[in-house]
C-alpha cells in the first residue's frame, strides 16, 4: 500500500512539475521575466494565472491535468498519514 501511494505521489509530483513548466513557458513572454521568476517562487500565482488565462493560451488540458495532480497528491498524502498512523 505504501509503495503504491509512493508511486502515485511521484507520478502526481512529476505531472505537476511538467504542467508548471508548460505554464511558465507561457507566463514568461506574456508577463515578463520578473513576473516569470515570481511564478517560480510562488507556484500558487502560476496556478491561478494559468486558470485565468486558460482560453487565451489554450491551457485547458494542462490546467485540468495540473488540478488533477494537485488533488491526487493531497489524497495520497492524507492516505499516507492514515497508513503511517495505522502502522
Amino acid at each position: 500500500m505504501a509503495a503504491l501511494l509512493g508511486l502515485l505521489g511521484g507520478v502526481a509530483g512529476i505531472g505537476s512539475l511538467v504542467c508548471l513548466i508548460i505554464v511558465l513557458i507561457k507566463l514568461f513572454p506574456a508577463e515578463g521575466a520578473l513576473k516569470g521568476v515570481f511564478g517560480i517562487i510562488c507556484g500558487i500565482y502560476t496556478f491561478i494565472w494559468g486558470w485565468q488565462n486558460v482560453d487565451r493560451y489554450n491551457l485547458k488540458n494542462v490546467m485540468t491535468i495540473w488540478s488533477a495532480c494537485f488533488v491526487v497528491s493531497i489524497i495520497v498524502r492524507v492516505l499516507a498519514i492514515g497508513v503511517s498512523a495505522k502502522s
Binding site: G13, L20, G32, A33, V37, G43, I48, Q52
Partner: protein
C-alpha cells in the same frame, strides 16, 4: 517577450488585477489554515517533482512561526517570511478596498517601484538567498524545508 529592467514594476501589475489578488489571498489563507491544522495542502511542484526545494519552499512554515510569535524560528526557516506577509496583507486589502483607495495605492506602488526598483531587487535577492542556501547551507535548508 516584454523588456524588463530593474525599475520595471512587479508588484503594481499584480495589484492592478483585483481578481488575481482575491484568488491569491483566498488560496493562501486557506492553505495556511489547512497547514496550521497539520493537514496536507498545496504541494510545491518543484519540490515534489524534483525533490529540490524551490525558492519559496519553507515560506508557509515560516509564516506559521511568525504567527505564533516565533520570530527567530521564522527567520531561520525563511528570511523573506515578513516580506511575504506584507505582500499578502497588501493583496488582501486590495481585494476589499474601495476603488478610489485601490487606485491610490496602485499609483503609489507603481511610482515607488519605478523610482527605487525595490520589488525587482527583492525578486533578485530572493533567488540569490535560495541559491546561497542551496549551495552552501544545503543541510540546514533540507532540515527546515523538506
Amino acid at each position: 517577450m516584454k523588456t524588463v529592467g530593474l525599475f520595471t514594476p512587479v508588484l503594481a501589475p499584480l495589484l492592478s488585477n483585483r481578481t488575481l489578488c482575491r484568488a491569491i489571498t483566498g488560496f493562501s489563507v486557506v492553505h495556511l489554515a489547512i497547514v496550521s491544522l497539520g493537514l496536507p495542502s498545496w504541494p510545491c511542484p518543484i519540490r515534489h517533482g524534483l525533490g529540490l526545494p524551490c525558492p519559496g519552499c519553507g515560506l508557509t512554515r515560516a509564516i506559521k512561526a511568525l504567527g505564533a510569535g516565533e520570530w527567530q524560528q521564522a527567520m531561520v526557516i525563511h528570511a523573506f517570511a515578513p516580506l511575504a506577509v506584507i505582500v499578502l496583507i497588501l493583496m488582501g486589502y486590495i481585494s476589499i478596498a474601495p476603488t478610489q483607495h485601490w487606485r491610490w495605492i496602485l499609483q503609489r506602488c507603481r511610482l515607488a517601484e519605478q523610482k527605487t526598483g525595490l520589488s525587482a531587487l527583492m525578486v533578485v535577492l530572493f533567488i540569490m538567498y535560495w541559491l546561497i542556501r542551496l549551495l552552501f547551507f544545503r543541510e540546514a535548508l533540507y532540515h527546515w524545508v523538506l
